[in-house]
Amino acid sequence: MDDAELMEALGRGEIQALERLYDRYSALVFSVSLRVLHDAQLAEDVVQEVFLRLWRQPASFDPGRGRFISWLMSVTRNRALDELRRVSRRNRSEDQEEDESNPLDGVASADRMDDPALGAELREQREAVRAAMTRLPPEQRRAIELAYFSGLTQAEISDVTGDPLGTVKTRIRLGMRKLRDALDEFVNIDLGDRRDEGTDEP
């Protein structure tokens, strides 16, 4: 069964559909949450929340509006960022010392083998995305990752990196353009005229 069929089955209250979606995507949801939160326990909380939301509100995914994996990643990222902001507020208010321990200690890596449950198509997409990200100039990749995984605004990225705001904006724009060009076979991209290539750095 594909993702849309599994979501339909969720709508009929079939718990087996949730089990199959969990087996297929839990490692990915957990990994994205962990990347945002750097805390395995909090990441597990997000995983639980995301899958229970699928169960409670299957109609919140509309196949007509895009692919399931994009929607799932959007939900996961947003929930993880909400949690990150909540924890950040709490930590600020309690003025806690920063935890120096490695947040990934004790977390099993599944990356060498990748996850067969993801399916060939998604594994191919993952490889393409990772390759495209790796090919980006480090400063462009960092700006995009700070925006996506840390939820920082461009101004905040400028503060973190010490680069001028205009430079941050340009890096994000150019980085996203390169990703777009590298991944256009996987994304329904209709961006019209691409002749205005622009410059590589300000």
């Binding site: 990915l28 947003n78 724009r173």
Partner: protein, 276 residues
């Protein structure tokens, strides 16, 4: 705006990395330019592919059991049929206010039996609310009673709209699109052109600062925007909002906007297009 500035705005907006003023500019661009809207949707899709770049890690295997067991304890709402519970808060409020108002009104011996048909109840309450402020209260503060009466009237009217929309033959359901400002929140808009009314159902919207609220804007075919309602969601970010519109100006688009504490509009959180 140069092509580079436009591209930077849309890409940054899709990543959720714009400041509030820039996000408002981007939202205006997306709303006013169909091509920009398509570009933005594509960038959104692209942005969510970035998530696929993470190294895969496995959660504790026991998490699977915990998730599935938790799901078993929370039967899928769709299996139970229509979820009338979402309307219970409004019904509960109305019921409680009915009791309070009936009691207040009975003190003055001015209004008799309120256990009449629901359609008559609103008129009775309106009349009683108007009279209450002139009466010498002994056990109920007049201002409070009036306030309760007005709230009751609103609750009853909302309930009547809810019932009418649910029973309408021309019911439409729109799953609302989300922006990066929704932070996982989502919603649906159920409406009936025949009834000139609709119900907005939102879930998981982010909390707002004290004093701020969400605004619901309806846009008609002539691009005229009307503020249809405001609301503050529950602590879970959920809300049920009744909307009424002019039958001569049937809305074609809906926007849920997070307003700032000073009442100015913040970013668009949810939006949807109606096919009338």
């Amino acid at each position: 705006m140069t092509p580079e500035e436009r591209e930077a705005l849309l890409a940054g907006y899709a990543l959720g990395s714009l400041s509030d003023p820039d996000a408002r500019d981007a939202e205006r661009l997306v709303r006013s330019d169909e091509r920009a809207a398509r570009e933005y949707e594509a960038y959104l899709d692209l942005a969510d592919m970035i998530a696929l770049s993470v190294p895969l890690r496995r959660a504790d295997p026991s998490l699977r059991t915990r998730v599935i067991e938790a799901a078993r304890r929370q039967p899928s709402p769709w299996r139970r049929g229509p979820d009338w519970r979402r309307f219970l808060p409004a019904a509960g409020l109305a019921a409680a206010l009915v009791l309070v108002t009936v009691w207040a009104v009975s003190l003055q011996n001015t209004i008799g039996d309120l256990r009449s048909e629901q359609s008559a109840l609103a008129a009775v309450v309106e009349a009683s609310a108007k009279r209450l402020d002139t009466l010498d209260q002994t056990t109920v503060d007049a201002q409070q009673a009036e306030s309760l009466g007005v709230r009751l009237e609103t609750a009853i009217r909302d309930q009547q709209v809810l019932l009418a929309v649910q029973a309408a033959d021309d019911l439409h359901i729109v799953t609302l699109g989300t922006t990066s400002a929704a932070h996982g929140g989502h919603g649906q808009y159920v409406y009936s052109p025949e009834q000139s009314a609709g119900v907005l159902l939102v879930y998981g919207l982010p909390p707002l600062p004290v004093g701020a609220s969400y605004k619901v804007w309806l846009e008609d075919e002539r691009s005229e925007l009307v503020l249809a309602n405001t609301f503050v969601p529950t602590t879970n970010g959920d809300a049920t909002v009744v909307l009424a519109f002019d039958q001569e100006k049937i809305p074609v688009r809906l926007f849920v906007v997070a307003s700032n504490s000073d009442g100015t509009d913040g970013p668009v959180v949810l939006r949807g297009a109606m096919a009338n």
